[in-house]
């Protein structure tokens, strides 16, 4: 279709003539009516989705940029223009050590999730990809934590990990009493506890993705390798894993974006007292605490913008340099 974009299925008949000249006089009214009708349909079909999506996803971010330039407590329109002080000023977010800690914590969670969940999920997926009776049941059980609501997971682990709670009791009964710590109360430890809970919650998702990826690896390949005398271990390492590459890269992308924005589990497992020390804040919990609960809309908007720029920038970079091959331009404009 190199001619006008107006051509649609019904018009294929006059394809040849439409190419050279304008619409012929005899058919012009019916053609124009059809074209008009087509556009009405297109607009009617896409407009509701387009409007809601634009209004609630894109527009707020634009407002955030605007609000972030003001000191604004939320009554009336913002008037107290302070430029970029909410970002870089002496009391700006980027200069606040608590925010810096939150950002650092996010980075630790990103790296920790990738390094811990990745290998673990690959190992478990390869295990559950073997043929054995009851495999379907095991696959389902592994996925259960992912289905639970974040709130459920947060409340549950907070009770389990509380001082002298069931986790400590289990450790003691295993003779590991010396390992007992104040899991949620020790500022140096709490982030790693949170990382453990996040791993428990989201590992199932990684495993399910990898199992789906594994089901696409043709069995003939590993059979051929086996006939050539490769061991199970060699087959996984040299045949299966390389073919899982795209799946692993997409999982890493989703994990990274999720880790940068993590809120629910952190909010529920930790207390404000310990988050206030900078020990377990993330950018999102900081934003809700210092922006929403403190009713500092200008400052909170600045934090929103920073969080947005970091997440969106990371997503675009990853997309550009790592996922390019896998998605074939689905997410960015074709170049």
């Amino acid at each position: 279709m190199t001619t006008t974009n107006r051509i649609h299925a019904e018009d294929l008949v006059d394809f040849a003539s439409a190419k050279s000249a304008g619409p012929r006089p005899i058919q012009s009214s019916s053609r124009a009516a059809r074209t008009r009708r087509k556009w009405y349909e297109i607009i009617g079909l896409t407009l509701p989705a387009l409007a809601i999506y634009t209004l609630f996803v894109l527009v707020p971010m634009g407002f955030a940029v605007y609000y972030s330039l003001y000191r604004w407590r939320g009554s009336g329109a913002p008037t107290d223009f302070i430029g970029l002080d909410n970002y870089f000023g002496p009391y700006g977010a980027l200069r606040d050590p608590i925010f810096q800690d939150a950002l650092l914590n996010n980075i630790k969670i990103v790296i920790g999730s990738l390094l811990v969940q990745g290998p673990l999920a690959v190992a478990i997926a390869l295990l559950l990809n073997r043929r054995f009776r009851g495999r379907a049941l095991f696959r389902m059980l592994v996925f259960v934590p992912y289905v639970l609501a974040e709130v459920t997971v947060g409340v549950m682990w907070r009770l389990i990990l509380t001082d002298n709670g069931v986790f400590d009791a289990v450790l003691r009964s295993l003779g590991l009493g010396s390992l007992v710590r104040s899991w949620l109360g020790d500022p140096n430890l709490v982030l790693w506890t949170v990382l453990g809970v996040l791993t428990w919650k989201y590992l199932g998702f990684a495993i399910i993705l990898l199992l789906a990826g594994l089901s696409n690896v043709p069995e003939e390949l590993s059979e051929a390798a086996a006939i050539d005398g490769a061991s199970w271990w060699q087959i996984q390492w040299h045949v299966t894993l390389p073919l899982l590459g795209p799946t692993i890269r997409i999982w890493a992308f989703l994990s990274m974006i999720g880790s940068l924005q993590v809120f629910d589990v952190v909010w529920l497992v930790t207390t404000q007292a310990i988050r206030g020390l900078g020990a377990a804040n993330t950018m999102a919990t900081y934003m809700v605490q210092e922006g929403f609960l403190a009713r500092s809309w200008g400052f909170g908007s600045a934090v929103s913008v920073i969080l947005f720029v970091i997440s969106f920038g990371a997503a675009l970079l990853y997309q550009r340099f790592v996922l390019r091959r896998d998605l074939q331009g689905a997410l960015t404009e074709r170049s």
């Binding site: 349909e41 809601i52 059980l141 259960v144 459920t152 428990w200 993705l209 894993l241 947005f308 689905a330």
Partner: protein, 286 residues
């Protein structure tokens, strides 16, 4: 580094008993770690606070059903369940209806700017939801949607649309054009074809996106937390958090409440496992 766990060679057709025992052992261990906390919460609800204090890791002895009964009757548990169901159903309907219409236009019409429009929707997948939450709250406040269910439903629909369109469009594209031509020859309009033929044909894909948006709405926490202030409007996750705050000393009650609150999600998962798993993996593979 990754797969030191199961390093035994696999014989063709016949498995070595040791290999198979090792496989089962490891699979059991993994499943145990995933399930143990859930089982603890469910069992904990059958114990009294005294039992839990005396021995945190013990089994119920004797079994007590009172806590569960108390939680069900006392709190606003059922109201929260109902609220969650309304919000989740509203979200699902909105996402599926708007999503399938847009996906239909984006797949079965040719028009200028079609790919650009599609890219515009897909861009939403990269939009960090948490980052937008604060300005979103301000917008909803200005629209007088604060403290209403619409204030939760509409943004959830908006955030659900990109994934829905990304899943549905290839599906609709794959339905052969001959079907459409045949319908046209029989005198159907384009919209008639959409309504009478395409929609019934795409039911599996619609169920998948419906299930995904239902589950994510059912579990949502941050948006309802900022938008809903009246406890009578609370969804279940807010109820759980509120209950935990109110009864922080009564561990047994929190355990019972938490385990009741996860039952709907677990049951739903049991029935819709295929759609959830298939949808998630299908969406990621694009």
């Amino acid at each position: 580094m990754a797969t030191h766990a199961v390093a035994l060679p696999r014989r063709r057709r016949r498995t070595n008993p040791w290999t198979s025992a090792l496989t089962y052992g490891l699979a059991l261990a993994v499943a145990g770690v995933c399930i143990a906390p859930v089982v603890y919460v469910i069992l904990g609800g059958f114990r009294t606070a005294g039992q839990i204090a005396a021995n945190p890791a013990g089994l119920p002895n004797p079994w007590v059903i009172d806590t569960y009964l108390r939680v069900i009757s006392a709190g606003m548990f059922w109201q929260y369940v109902g609220n969650s169901a309304i919000v989740a159903l509203g979200t699902t309907l909105g996402v599926v209806a708007l999503g399938v219409c847009a996906a239909f236009a984006l797949s079965r019409y040719r028009f200028r700017g079609r790919e650009a429009l599609y890219t515009y929707f897909v861009l939403g997948l990269l939009f960090p939801a948490a980052a937008g939450i604060l300005p979103l709250y301000l917008l909803l406040r200005d629209l007088n949607l604060e403290n209403t269910w619409w204030g939760v439903i509409l943004p959830q629909v908006a955030y659900g649309l990109p994934l829905t369109i990304v899943i549905l469009r290839p599906f609709l594209l794959a339905i052969p054009g001959e079907l459409e031509d045949a319908a046209m020859i029989d005198g159907s309009t384009k919209l008639g074809f959409f309504w009478r033929i395409l929609l019934p044909l795409s039911r599996p894909a619609l169920v998948t996106v419906g299930v995904i948006s239902f589950v994510s709405s059912w579990n949502a926490f941050l948006l309802p937390l900022l938008i809903l202030h009246d406890t009578s409007l609370y969804t279940l996750p807010l109820g759980v958090q509120q209950f935990q705050g109110q009864y922080s000393s009564d561990t047994a009650a929190i355990l019972a409440y938490t385990s009741l609150s996860m039952m709907p999600a677990l049951l739903f998962f049991l029935f819709a496992e295929r759609q959830i798993v298939g949808g998630l993996t299908g969406a990621v593979k694009g």
